[in-house]
């Protein structure tokens, strides 16, 4: 059995992060930073967001609803709905580290992101559980550090850049999410996305504050029920 080398694994994690993942994270978080400035967040709040929340959709949902005047319960509920994906991700990822204590599992669950999940689940990631743990920790800490810097850069950009460029930064949030949604191959997921898009405007006309939440729950449930029928019918 080869010797376990957590130090090399950590360096590999850092190196893997310092490429496409870092660009994606920075782009997304720069967009969030610009949005944070647009809705009146302080610079330190923009920087803390990726560190404490570390979920771009939840951050953008919270900022967006805050700007619309929603109360904290509605904000938390909507953020929780966008972050549900972390539950199945953690269930699939954490056993591959065989991290003993609950504290260690909670820490890795907090560090985890959609990107880190995808990279550590790739065949090229280390095999040994301890090396995987080191790889994932280094990978995610690198991404979070970049995210905090990018959020600050985006906030500064929105404050100091000419207005047209600041607007471009703001649009990045929507652009990132639409590409993320377009990337899904699963038909049931695409149905959920389509229902969310179609249901949101009419609900918004009647109940503007609850449109995101209702379109999400109705669209998800519709895709769940209809998709089940599709599966049993085929």
């Amino acid at each position: 059995m080869p010797e376990v080398d957590t130090r090399s694994a950590a360096i590999a994690g850092l190196r893997t992060a310092a490429g496409v993942p870092l660009l994606l994270v920075s782009g997304g978080m720069a967009g969030f930073g610009a949005l944070a400035h647009d809705i009146g967040f302080a610079a330190w709040e923009a920087v803390m967001a990726p560190v404490v929340v570390w979920a771009l959709p939840a951050q953008v949902v919270a900022a967006e609803l805050h700007a619309a005047g929603a109360d904290l319960v509605a904000i938390a509920l909507a953020a929780a709905l966008t972050s549900m994906r972390f539950f199945p991700m953690a269930v699939a990822l954490l056993p591959t580290f065989r991290a003993g204590g609950l504290l260690s599992r909670l820490l890795q669950a907090h560090l985890m992101s959609a990107t880190s999940w995808a990279f550590v689940m790739r065949p090229s990631a280390p095999r040994d559980p301890r090396e995987r743990l080191a790889f994932h920790t280094a990978f995610t800490l690198t991404c979070i550090a970049a995210a905090a810097l990018a959020a600050f850069a985006g906030w500064l950009g929105a404050a100091a850049l000419p207005k047209p460029l600041a607007l471009g930064l703001l649009f990045m949030n929507a652009a990132f999410f639409m590409v993320l949604l377009a990337e899904s191959r699963n038909r049931q997921v695409l149905l959920a996305v389509a229902l969310g898009v179609v249901l949101c405007p009419p609900i918004h006309a009647v109940l503007p504050e609850a449109s995101m939440l209702l379109a999400g729950v109705l669209g998800g449930t519709g895709a769940f029920l209809f998709g089940d029928r599709l599966r049993s019918g085929s």
């Binding site: 953020a79 703001l170 959920a192």
Partner: protein
Amino acid sequence: MSGGEHAGYAVLLAAAAATFVWRALGAVLVGRVDPEGPVVRWFTLTSYALLAALVVRLVALPTGSLAGIPLAIRLAAVAVTLGVWWLSRRNVLAAVLSGSACIVAAALWLAGG
């Protein structure tokens, strides 16, 4: 555009707690739930639908400065984003930068004209 009635950090803490709940639930229930089961599937589908509704709100019903850009241009930027993503063989960065460049160009044109 000013924010809502709560302090920014309170909004962040609400979002942080709401996100951490799911991460913690996964860490606690490891090995005891089926990641492919119907409950997890409903959760996944609902979060996708909600994300889709978020995109609609960001693009079609913006609350902030983007509202200053006409809807037709915002929709054109969506078409460019998805079109470039498709043509560039799913290059996320190229797609996002092209879509944002549309908004920048439109804003410059609006300011100039």
